[in-house]
Subunit: 294 residues, 2 copies
């Protein structure tokens, strides 16, 4: 009995998230070709056995499966849809997986362009942060053809724990938007609760003891409020990236005719924070916006 050789993976975007994720695939024995705009960020993967390629097109030409996790929707668009992009250069029958948090509408466009060339595209954004990526326990939210999902599920399982097929193209991105929408207003609540506790003379850490395990409890209250109280505003998740996500979510809500006062208030607050120099804080940096009026 001979086992089928493992698919060749092309991995584009070897930042904090991508390099951990690609590392798991390499460790599992997948032949992996890597590209990143800043080449040095791929050095560690290359030392682990990845083969460097100098463009998305050259990744696409050799890969059975292309995975991208890059910055902003405009970067995703350029990587997939340009004449030197992934779709124009992909091997017949290839599967293209965008794991960037990006626009649902762009995911649809990519899926249609891929389909026109007999390629399959999945949108599969993640949550779980750098730690989730390192420990291979990301939540992966997948949209696209279900047959393609079934085919690459073993690859997702090397990177994540909670892998859910959400529906047709764009559904992964829509799910991630719902995730960011829940977080956005929640962060206003967490920061306002901490500020309130401190300003009313309470010991904020002791307040967390009272409120973290009840109806006010949340991941953000348990994980980010203690960092706020310690004055730690280092990024887990960057303010500037969160603003990108909220902008997409608010546009999508608007195009559905929905008013989201919580999301709008959160986006406005984070944009104010960014204007005041906070775009490279972690999302808990929102706390700094709450200065008492004179």
């Amino acid at each position: 009995m001979t086992s089928k050789p493992l698919s060749t993976i092309g991995f584009i975007g070897t930042g904090v998230m991508g390099s951990s994720m690609a590392g798991h695939l390499l460790k599992a024995g997948y032949p992996l070709h890597a590209y990143n705009r800043t080449q040095s960020k791929a050095d560690r993967l290359v030392s682990q056995g990845a083969i460097w390629k100098d463009s998305p097109a050259n990744i696409a030409k050799v890969a059975d499966i292309v995975i991208t996790i890059i910055g902003f929707p405009k970067d995703v668009e350029a990587a997939y849809l340009g004449p030197d992009g992934i779709i124009a250069n992909a091997k017949p029958g290839g599967i293209l997986i965008d794991m960037t948090t990006s626009s649902p509408k762009l995911a649809l466009q990519i899926a249609e362009a891929a389909s026109a060339r007999q390629l399959l595209a999945l949108d599969a954004p993640v949550s779980g942060g750098d730690l989730g990526a390192r420990e291979a326990r990301l939540s992966i939210m997948v949209g696209g053809e279900e047959a393609a999902f079934d085919q690459v599920k073993p690859i997702f399982e090397l990177m994540g724990k909670n892998i859910v097929y959400q529906g047709p193209a764009g559904s992964g991105q829509h799910t991630k938007m719902a995730n960011q929408i829940a977080i956005a207003s929640g962060m206003l609540g967490v920061c306002e609760a901490v500020v309130y506790a401190e300003r009313s003379g309470l010991d904020a850490t002791r307040v967390l003891e009272s409120i973290s395990s009840g109806a006010a409890g949340s991941w953000s209250l348990s994980n980010l409020a203690p960092r706020i109280i310690k004055g730690d505003f280092e990024p887990g998740f960057f303010v500037k990236h969160f603003i990108k996500d909220m902008t997409i979510a608010l546009q999508e809500a608007d195009s559905m005719g929905l008013d989201f006062p919580g999301l709008a208030a959160a986006k406005a607050a984070y944009e104010k924070l960014a204007t005041e120099g906070g775009e490279d804080f972690g999302t808990q940096g929102l706390y700094k916006l709450y200065q008492p009026r004179d």
Copy 2:
């Protein structure tokens, strides 16, 4: 060896919360006198051994420890501060415990009036809802003299699990305000996430599978979003009571010179919901406000 006889407790407010809480004290053997504005709501307690009294004054006259858990700050004020109130009629050395969610400023006023009569007052609001009351696992947030807290802690332990002394008079109420502030914006996020998921064509239950256990996770998302999806808007916690709490919290924040855009947006949304007939919904009824624009 003879054991000290148990203190006589006067219990004012035998609604859904109070009757469960007083029931635990009765079961533990405490002599308990009860009063409620609507007498019939005390019938069950009386059948369990409580002695009915027909006014707060007559409760105060016989009780070593008075516990109140009643509706609104104006009710608390009337029960404690009037000429026929608890403080004017309490036994020397009595301990007065208000477990209503009420105003921190009123808690201070009560503590001062109590102190002038050599009485001790604690503000000790709770979270955990009717289920937490029934199962004696409330979170109890306590402000006031620490000596008084130590003295009545065994009584708190019959009603709750997470009992934290938060500081001087008013600190219990301030802690509960921080709790409500965290919930308020969080509810906007939960409702907007569910509405977004549904309107973008996703299966909202499957979306919860992807997002509930990660950074978007919260008590509200795990417990109230599934009720929303099922169309269940029955109160756990009433919209009208939540508006009362948010009103107090926003007044307190304002008096500290703080702008809370999340709390303000949540309060405005809930007030709109109440105007449209939703004041007797549970807080998850906020979902009904999100109708698409024409």
